[in-house]
């Protein structure tokens, strides 16, 4: 980002002749504005896509009235929520109640500073990038816990502390899975991690060795739990806790929490893409840097949104787990697995400092076979359940 700003301010550049601080402020403000719009658009559209995807999974149609195929549904929901009355319960702690959405929004927006969208397109390529993202997204927990406690409502209290217990527990397997990647890169910088991988799937960290393969699934499961997604959405289990920590929130304030939830889904996908799925790496197909940048962004967005789609699919398929199952899954399975996995990755790295092509291609073959088997099961079940079904999302 800094090099980009410097480039613009060189003699002959579009911002030539401006003082350096002013140029920096302009570039940062412009990029922040773009990211803001990107966040709002992604979070909003994701809410619509998610409802449509569930609807198709459950043999319904879903919202299809506002705009073509209902794409503007999220705007209508936003406008509706802005016009809604804002209720702060009399018994609540007013200050904490009002401060909670701000904290969640700060933690959520902070994560976007370190997401590598393309080569050089990252707001802050910190040398502690991954650690920063895990740290700043944890701020969301504080907001949720604050919302739960300040509402002075039993549902909200239960939802808030459940959420806190869940998110902090799953932070440990997620952190260990991230460390497994960091071992092989030797850097925590997001761009450094992406650049250590290649464009082709067999150069992704996912297939580099069996330990990183396991780490990806541990990370994705733990990230779903951290994002309070089904099957781990106990904090806002509608059927038992009304809306969990957000029970007392109405209108715009509750919308902010849901914005963060949908947006965090994209953050999960983006971080998993950068760590395991090769990030924005594309083959050098063109010399035009702008065109290449757009291509990189599209590849990155496509991969991360595919992971978002997987999360929606999981949500439409799996039932919610019980709270004791949730805790034992984390502490008795994911934590030991990720420990052993990390030690195995260290041994592998000591034995094969350059990586092993045999293992790499074996993993690619294994992954491909797994994918083919999985898709054949999907097709088999769809055919069996609905003989008349044809694969069109708009049918």
């Amino acid at each position: 980002m800094q090099q980009f700003a410097d480039g613009l301010m060189e003699p002959g550049g579009p911002l030539a002749g401006i003082s350096t601080p002013l140029g920096y402020v302009l570039v940062v403000a412009l990029f922040a504005f773009l990211i803001l719009n990107f966040i709002m658009l992604v979070a909003g559209v994701t809410s619509w896509v998610e409802r449509r995807v569930w609807a198709r999974i459950q043999s319904r149609i879903g919202p299809n009235r506002v705009g073509p195929q209902g794409v503007l549904q999220w705007l209508a929901d936003g406008i509706k929520n802005i016009m809604k009355e804002d209720i702060v319960p009399e018994q609540a702690d007013r200050f904490l109640f009002k401060a909670a959405p701000y904290l969640t929004m700060m933690g959520f927006f902070g994560a976007f500073a370190c997401i590598p969208f393309a080569d050089g397109v990252i707001a802050a390529d910190l040398n502690v990038g991954v650690l920063y993202i895990t740290a700043v997204t944890a701020l969301v927990v504080v907001g949720i816990l604050m919302a739960g406690w300040s509402s002075n409502n039993k549902w909200a209290l239960l939802g808030g502390i459940r959420s806190a217990a869940q998110i902090i527990s799953y932070e440990i397997p997620a952190g260990l899975a991230v460390i497994t990647v960091v071992l092989f890169t030797g850097t925590l910088s997001m761009q450094g991690i992406v650049e250590a991988q290649g464009a082709a799937p067999w150069k992704w960290f996912l297939f580099a060795n069996p330990f990183l393969f396991v780490a990806f699934f541990v990370f994705f499961t733990a990230a779903l739990a951290e994002g309070n997604r089904t099957p781990f959405d106990l904090p806002e289990a509608e059927s038992e806790l009304v809306a969990g920590a957000f029970t007392e929130y109405s209108g715009l304030r509750s919308l902010l929490f849901f914005l963060v939830e949908w947006g965090n889904l994209y953050v999960i996908g983006a971080v998993a893409t950068a760590l395991f799925l090769g990030g924005w790496r594309v083959p050098a197909v063109t010399d035009n840097p702008v065109l290449l940048g757009v291509l990189q962004f599209l590849v990155f967005f496509g991969k991360s949104y595919f992971l978002v789609f997987i999360a929606m699919w999981v949500r439409g398929t799996l039932p919610r787990v019980r709270v004791d199952q949730l805790m034992s899954l984390c502490w008795k399975y994911l934590v030991p697995i990720s420990f052993v996995n990390m030690l195995g990755a260290m041994v592998f790295f000591v034995l094969f400092p350059e990586g092993s092509p045999v293992v790499r291609f074996g993993m690619v073959a294994f992954g491909a076979a797994l994918l083919v088997y999985f898709l054949s099961r999907v097709v088999f079940h769809i055919r069996r359940a609905r003989p008349e079904f044809h694969l069109s999302p708009f049918a």
Partner: protein, 130 residues
């Protein structure tokens, strides 16, 4: 470095400013007709019985305690992980691995202890009252 840290600050503040702008816009547009029943705490339509600021289950504290230990451990492993590549390329990989292995084994004993003490069980069997 300052440029990047300033950028991080910009994004964190952007979150707060966006929330403030949205709520400010809502404040201009939304109605406000507070009344007593509307402002009462929701408890399935019944009048709420007492405050919700009560003692909650001890198990959440236990989880938090175990978490603190393991999270500090993860925080200690991060710097080792970041320099592990350097050790391996300079041929000292086994030394670094042994050190982190000893560190992890000590902590793993901790996890086994917590597990054996049944503090990871959400549902505990209560001994029958004689």
């Amino acid at each position: 470095m300052e440029f990047q840290l300033a950028n991080v600050l910009v994004y964190i503040l952007l979150g707060a400013i966006t929330a403030a702008l949205m709520l400010g816009l809502g404040w201009l547009l939304r109605p406000s007709n507070p009344e007593r029943m509307k402002l009462s705490t929701y408890e399935c339509g019944e009048p709420p019985s007492g405050s919700a600021w009560i003692n909650f289950n001890i198990r959440f504290y236990l989880i938090a305690l175990v978490f603190v230990i393991f999270d500090v451990e993860v925080a200690f492993i991060y710097p080792v992980a970041a320099t592990f590549r350097h050790y391996v390329t300079s041929g000292q990989g086994m030394i670094a691995f042994t050190e982190i292995f000893v560190f992890l084994v000590i902590l793993f004993v901790g996890l086994v202890y917590v597990w054996a003490k049944r503090d990871l069980e959400w549902l505990k069997r209560v001994p029958p009252v004689a």
